[in-house]
């Protein structure tokens, strides 16, 4: 009898707990996110920084998206899609229930018009070039016409893209913010101010934007995805110093540190037992590297570049930044498809490096310049690299400058070496080709480009194009293998010295819950706003 009663009690207790857990997960509540810098714009055709990127993703939807917390492509506004066998035609059926925040259903015409808008030079979109595979791009991008002949509206809910070349990254391109449908009538009504009063189609609507102070998102009650988002409201507060934001989080005034844990307080915060369970660690699609300009002597000599690779003590640099990274062996970060787990990279070997320098004709080393961003911790990292280089006889004079000045020197080709940290960009999409074209391919090795080693290998460009022509999803692994080979070949030529891959540490208040992967989502930074919820 007694046993039966306690069992009954246990069942009741379990049921109560289960209900409690269910209520805790129920939708509702509000979350506060702090940022130091303002958000410039929420116009999907224009916004292109790590901060507004994920905010725009919560206000707007694209044809494609990633499964939350992963880099797996899934259809979003598209209900289904088909790729022609030759990989040049992509046909999408739109979700019939999808609506803009003004209540109007999203049609194929909106998809077409919005991409045409992004490509039109008058829009000044930084992302226009991503659509270069679409037929008619040149005419539209040069402003000769405002139509893209390669986007064909078949019926109000079906749209077809005709490509001038097969492009395996095209589905990724259709999750880029630049491709997101915007309502024509609102863009025309608001003009350039659309970015400050965006009308989207996503899980949240913009409720308030007080310039320089806060932005408030509220749940879109008519959202076609059920049970999304989970929060009623998100308030973003700007101008917040990261260390003060940390104090406020400890007091329960703030839920997410948008800028992360202040580097100077990292160890203290991480080791504090009170913060257990509040810090989520994840990977980042990022590599920190030193570029060596192959057009400036003596970096035209591959042995010199290899020597630099062997001279840098990556373990020590990782320690300098409190183990907020792992040593890198190759250009691709570990969580990027195409990463080669078995490739060990150049060993740390100062003696071997000295020997290589001697073989290259520099037994006594040489003098050069190392450019770096002037925000912490980059000057400290650059100093460590400088010391490492000094041990093999290379005297590198440091030039620590503002971000814009480093970018300028890189794009002008005047900088012999650049430490890449602090340039405030992340991968556009989780595909190896994004790590090649702009920063290692011939296309980026131009005046004003971002290939700061000015390395241009026509053979690899050709291999890259071949890999990107493999559009059949069934051949995904084959394509990855092709890219893997390209990046290892690059390491033989050593235009970069990869140093580390940054880790991500997202700190949140105890009341914000969700799967760990939502807090370190590869695309949504700092967190996946549509998915996390608060305990009520």
């Amino acid at each position: 009898m007694k046993t039966a009663r306690s069992m009954l009690l246990a069942i009741v207790a379990a049921a109560v707990m289960a209900t409690a857990a269910a209520t805790a997960q129920a939708a509702g509540g509000k979350m506060i996110v702090t940022f130091k810098d303002d958000v410039s714009t929420l116009d999907p055709a224009i916004g292109y920084d790590w901060q507004n990127w994920s905010m725009i993703k919560s206000l707007f939807d694209g044809l494609m998206d990633y499964k939350p917390g992963t880099t797996d492509l899934v259809p979003e506004l598209a209900q289904s899609y088909e790729i022609s066998p030759d990989g040049t035609q992509y046909t999408f059926k739109l979700h019939p229930e999808a609506k803009f925040h003004n209540g109007r259903p999203i049609t194929a015409d909106d998809v077409k018009w919005s991409i045409e808008r992004a490509v039109n030079p008058k829009t000044q979109s930084p992302g226009a070039g991503f659509f270069s595979a679409i037929k008619g791009f040149e005419e539209a991008n040069s402003g000769k016409t405002d139509k893209l002949s390669g986007i064909v509206v078949l019926d109000p809910h079906t749209v077809r893209f005709d490509l001038s070349r097969p492009d395996a990254t095209f589905l990724h391109v259709l999750q880029l913010n630049f491709s997101f449908p915007v309502p024509k009538e609102e863009v025309e009504r608001l003009g350039a101010d659309f970015g400050k009063s965006p009308v989207g189609s996503g899980a949240y609507k913009l409720k308030e934007w007080t310039l320089g102070q806060r932005i408030v998102f509220v749940r879109n009650p008519d959202y076609w995805k059920k049970d999304t988002p989970k929060l009623d409201e998100i308030e973003f507060q700007f101008g917040q110093d990261p260390s003060v934001a940390l104090l406020r989080l400890k007091k329960g005034e703030v839920d997410i540190l948008g800028d992360g844990i202040p580097p100077a307080r990292f160890l203290e915060v991480k080791n504090d037992p009170a913060n257990k369970g509040l810090i989520v660690q994840g990977n980042q699609l990022q590599t920190g590297y030193v570029t060596m300009n192959v057009k400036i002597k003596p970096f035209d000599n591959v042995k010199v570049r290899q020597a630099v690779n062997m001279a840098i003590n990556k373990e020590r640099i990782v320690k300098i930044i409190n183990n907020r990274a792992v040593p890198a062996t190759q250009p691709l970060p570990p969580s990027m498809p195409g990463y080669d787990k078995n490739y060990k990279g150049y060993p740390y070997d100062p003696e071997g490096a000295k020997k290589l320098l001697k073989d290259a004709g520099f037994p006594n080393g040489f003098e050069t310049e190392l450019y770096a961003n002037n925000t912490d911790p980059n000057p400290r990292i650059a100093q460590a690299i400088q010391q490492d280089l000094a041990t093999i006889g290379i005297k590198a004079n440091l030039k620590t400058l503002a971000q814009s000045a480093v970018i300028q020197a890189g794009g002008d080709g005047t900088a012999p070496m650049i430490w890449s940290g602090g340039m405030a960009w992340i991968a556009d999409f989780p595909d190896p080709s994004d790590f090649y074209g702009p920063i290692l391919g011939c296309g980026g090795a131009v005046q004003g480009g971002w290939n700061w080693s000015w390395y241009c290998n026509k053979d690899l460009d050709k291999l890259g194009a071949e890999a990107d022509a493999v559009t059949d999803p069934a051949k995904k692994a084959e394509r990855e293998e092709m890219w893997r080979k390209i990046f290892i070949k690059i390491m033989d030529d050593a235009p970069w010295a990869p140093v580390f891959n940054e880790l991500r540490f997202t700190m949140h208040s105890p009341r914000v819950k969700g799967e760990d992967s939502w807090f370190v989502d590869p695309v949504h930074i700092p967190v996946h706003y549509d998915e996390v919820y608060v305990a009520q």
Binding site: T41, Q124, A128, G239, D241, A405, W425, D428, I439
Partner: protein, 305 residues
């Protein structure tokens, strides 16, 4: 009086033209390209050139300057490169917070500066004089971010007397204004002390004392009126300085003033915002000085404009 105003107005026009020329030239001398900042790393060269053309940055600098000034004369400060918003809207959104912080800071500067300065001047050579002067020296030299964080940590985080930064009511204003006031008040107190000490040596003060006035009245009525003149000029300057923003204090306290706007614009070379903020500051400095000059005759009737 009218003549004074007219000549001042004439001078101001020249100052403002000078400021626009210098700022514009500086913005283009910086070895960095705003278009690259807008375009990011994946933009194709064609996209970069398109943006440059749309912004008119492919034209010769003198021509760009003339276009800028022409628009300026029509009251148009242009649009931000990054935010695509009217610069006037951006600056206007920051003005209330900036003006409020300015008022608060000047209040604390005067409160600290006048009290400490008069206190020290009337106790010259005593221990308390030296203590006050050392304190003022510390106030002037202490880095603002340190004072700011310290006040914030003690009064907001530990004692819970004030909110942890932010913008809103008087509660939010006190700590940032005090942080600025401690620095400025240090200066004011030193100026006030020497000025008051000079005045207290004057014959008319001896007369006032001789006729049996209370010391308090001698100092605060007869002395202060003359001694405060240099401080009034300093307030005039501070109006201009605070109008261009108190970047450090604004960022420690999350205060949405003009300084943060300027700082963020400088990072990305958003020339229209940089120009707009500089012009606003220049106008404020001119006006602040003018105000100080206009107030002086009311304090000291010997001064005529």
């Amino acid at each position: 009086m009218l003549r004074f105003l007219l000549s001042r107005l004439g001078q101001s026009v020249f100052i403002l033209i000078g400021v626009t020329v210098i700022t514009f030239a500086l913005a283009f001398l910086v070895p960095a390209d705003p278009v690259r900042m807008i375009a990011g790393r994946s933009a194709s060269p064609a996209t970069v050139e398109n943006i440059r053309h749309q912004l008119g940055l492919d034209r010769p600098v003198p021509e760009q300057y003339v276009r800028y000034v022409t628009r300026l004369v029509h009251g148009d400060l242009g649009r931000s490169y990054m935010q695509k918003t009217q610069v006037s809207t951006l600056i206007a959104s920051r003005l209330p917070a900036t003006l409020l912080l300015m008022a608060g800071a000047i209040f604390f500067e005067l409160l600290i500066g006048l009290t400490a300065g008069i206190w020290a001047a009337t106790r010259r050579g005593h221990f308390s004089d030296q203590a006050v002067m050392v304190a003022s020296f510390v106030g002037v030299s202490a880095p603002q971010f340190l004072v700011g964080l310290l006040l914030l940590y003690v009064f907001a985080n530990l004692l819970n007397l004030f909110p942890l930064g932010g913008y809103g009511d008087l509660h939010h204003l006190i700590l940032p204004a005090l942080t600025l006031g401690i620095g400025g008040g240090g200066w004011y107190s030193r100026v006030m002390r020497s000025s008051m000490a000079d005045v207290l040596r004057q014959d008319y003060i001896r007369t006032a004392r001789a006729k049996g006035l209370k010391e308090r009245k001698v100092v605060l009525v007869h002395g202060l009126r003359n001694a405060i003149l240099p401080v009034v000029a300093m307030v005039g300057l501070d109006i201009g300085i605070f109008m261009s923003g108190a970047v450090v204090v604004e960022s420690v306290y999350g205060w949405p003033g003009i300084g943060q706007l300027a700082w963020q614009a400088i990072q990305v070379i958003d020339i229209p915002i940089i120009m707009g903020v500089t012009l606003t500051a220049a106008v404020a400095i001119v006006l602040g000085n003018l105000l100080a000059d206009l107030v002086t005759p009311f304090i000291d009737p010997r001064v005529r404009l």
